[in-house]
Symmetry: C2
DNA sequence: TAGATTGTTAATCGATTAACAATC
DNA sequence: TAGATTGTTAATCGATTAACAATC
């Protein structure tokens, strides 16, 4: 059972397979070949077969993959077959937006607590869950099993609060703060750096414009509108 | 000036360099060597030098890199040295959270419009910007230059609205909907698939638990709490 | 000048794609 | 059985790391 190391690239692709298989299920597609799926997803069939075979032989020669079965199996691999209690730290706009995200519940991600440092928010509720003050966190974590902490605090508070989470036994952090957390080996961090994503978009847009400067009409400004 | 193709991996790393250089500037650090930066960022010095040299020789032998200069140059490469007018499509929780994100303004990402399909929201304002109905979008895009459209609609509306954006000349979409948009070559899409990010976290957590099942106490349940 | 550190070439490593034998 | 398609090995491609000459 010694799992051979699965590459990060493969893991990042798994949720996308899961999404496509879910869509196929909704369309009542029963089976699909790596070739047909590759056309839908715009990846190579070879990659699909390689990726899936990291986890086991889910297909059948001459038949392809059973959609429902593969969906279920990938779900298990991703751990969405069990319930993951979550808390949110930081009840600002983003924290509240995530709290209101019903889609997560469908996958077993269940919000069980919201915390903030701002006393103005104390007692307010988001989706039926009362916002608590941070000082109540250690007690809460002793009394409730929590798998995942969502960090939606401004970066000046984030590092300190991450430490508090770790000190109280949290093993997985979904980090939206614009910092890289420095955590022990047994704590898993998944970063969502929105401003970096936006800058990547900005780079690609700027690059596209740079490349097309001298083709977009010969009126002197080269098509560069700013 | 024919730019040799820069790999996607390099581009994804640029905003992170930019962030670290910004922090160094705040700490009044004047110069830094690839070696010192590599320790801070936990990447190899070799990678830093390779990455930067895709865009030009920003350093100096025996000295290192001037922080302010490098920060400015990477800013230009990323296109954050100019203003990018943006609109939001979808004034739900996430759309509003992004609208309230002051940090973006600092980098030249300026919100100029918010649109939704829900008539209940008509006339409401977010951060001083009135929510408009989608049917006003084509006129708005004719009258205003808009660089980037942020798509924060549920997936059943997203595809159709993306098409509307493209038909009206939008060239860059920051997509938060859980679908892959099918766009022409001259339209740039940057995806933020939150549920996929959360599932990656869930995979890593589950994997960690699977690996440690037989070490966490010999009481039979193997330390697996669910 | 001597020391430091870049820019860049070469070596290594890892990930993707191609090919095909196995098998349903 | 014949056809289809997987699972898997081998080949290719690309990205990262190491090494070092150039040079400040």
């Amino acid at each position: 059972m010694d799992a051979k190391e699965i590459s990060k690239a493969v893991i990042k692709r798994l949720p996308r397979y899961y999404r496509y298989l879910g869509e196929l299920m909704e369309e009542n597609v029963e089976r699909i070949s790596s070739n047909d799926l590759s056309k839908k997803m715009r990846v190579t069939a070879s990659q699909i077969r390689q990726d899936l075979n990291n986890f086991g032989g889910f297909g059948q020669q001459g038949y392809g993959y059973n959609v429902r079965y593969l969906y279920t199996e990938i779900g298990k691999i991703l751990g969405v077959d069990s319930v993951h209690p979550m808390i949110i730290l930081g009840a600002g706009n983003l924290g509240q937006a995530l709290a209101n995200y019903v889609d997560f519940e469908k996958r077993g991600f269940r919000l069980v607590g919201i915390f903030d440092v701002n006393p103005v928010l104390e007692g307010m509720a988001v989706r039926g869950i009362e916002i608590q003050m941070i000082h109540e966190l250690p007690f809460f974590l002793r009394e409730n099993q929590v798998d995942i902490a969502i960090l939606t605090l401004p970066k000046n508070r984030a590092r300190e609060m991450a430490q508090l989470l770790i000190d109280n036994g949290i093993k997985a952090i979904w980090n939206f703060a614009h910092i890289d957390l420095d955590t022990p080996d047994d704590v898993i961090v998944e970063n969502v750096h929105l401003s970096e994503s936006l800058m990547t978009l900005s780079y690609n847009l700027s690059q596209y414009r740079r490349e097309h400067v001298n083709r977009a009409g010969e009126d002197g400004d080269g098509g560069n509108r700013l």
